[in-house]
Amino acid sequence: MTGSDLVMYEEEFRRIDEELQKLHQQSNAKVVFLVDKNGQLIASAGETHDIDTTSLASLTAGNIAATGGIARLLGEKEFTILFHEGEKDNIHISLIGQRVILVVIFDNRTSLGLVRLRVKKASETMGRIFEEITLKAEKEKGEGKLEESIFAEISDEDIDNLFR
């Protein structure tokens, strides 16, 4: 079960963050963010201050999951791109490597064409980074390097403290 846990280290996080910042600038989008397929926000770039990113992440993942369910009913493997058009803002959602979801929110300062083009490029780069993350996590798990992690020392008391 935990074989598929996502473990993110400083170095990979920085690379992903850089890639997101680049995408944000080059596509001229308002906000760009990256969500785990299970609804957890991984990273974001742009004007995030007035957006509830946690809720957005969970709903986006729900959206992708529901669309994936529809795809399978129709005999498709997955619909890899979703696009919602609003009066002012639009949202472009795409899957990277079956594992993470890239969300771009943009308005009329840019165009769907440009967003799609930039998303495609960024997806390739980020897809590679996520492959590396998976490999690294598996390797370190095998070597037992993570044993020094915080989990080794978690006690009943720590957990009780969370609920005070």
Binding site: Y9, N38, G62, I154, I159, F163
Partner: protein
Amino acid sequence: MSFINYSSREINCKIVYYGPGLCGKTTNLQYIYRRTNPDQKGKLISLATETERTLFFDFLPLALGDIRGFRIRFHLYTVPGQVFYAASRKLILKGVDGIVFVADSQLERMESNMESLDDLGINLSEQNYDLDKIPFTIQYNKRDLPNVVPIEEMDRLLNPRKLVFYEAVAVTGKGVFETLKAVAKQVLFELKKHY
């Protein structure tokens, strides 16, 4: 599937409240939402029908505190309990770290409880999870009602693993945090086993 972020020093875990329709899953989340400090919670999102039946899911993000410098975040979800929402239920179980099974204690709901528990086992196994191994807590809800089944009988029907169970009255909050704490503990200890 937990998300451990060493860069932002966060651990994110997903907990799903499962159970038959109208057993009180959403009520559990609503109580938790009401009783948590504003700085520890996000918005409670309910994708429900006009009659307040859950259509897709409810979602509540909680950040209860830190352990060894890592912020522990729990994302709580409920599934739609009604039988015909089977497809949606499966989707929400994706990547789950821990499950709370909320059973309705009323006599006439026993069959629905058992049906829902079977449904949970099947949906989990489809995603290569094992109901006997995944962090799991059982809550016997609505203990305040007059026509409830005795605990021993419910335990015999719904709790073959003889796990610790919690008696609850979710509308008043009785047993709600105890249940959450129990599953959270199991989830974190499960992580400890693997990392």
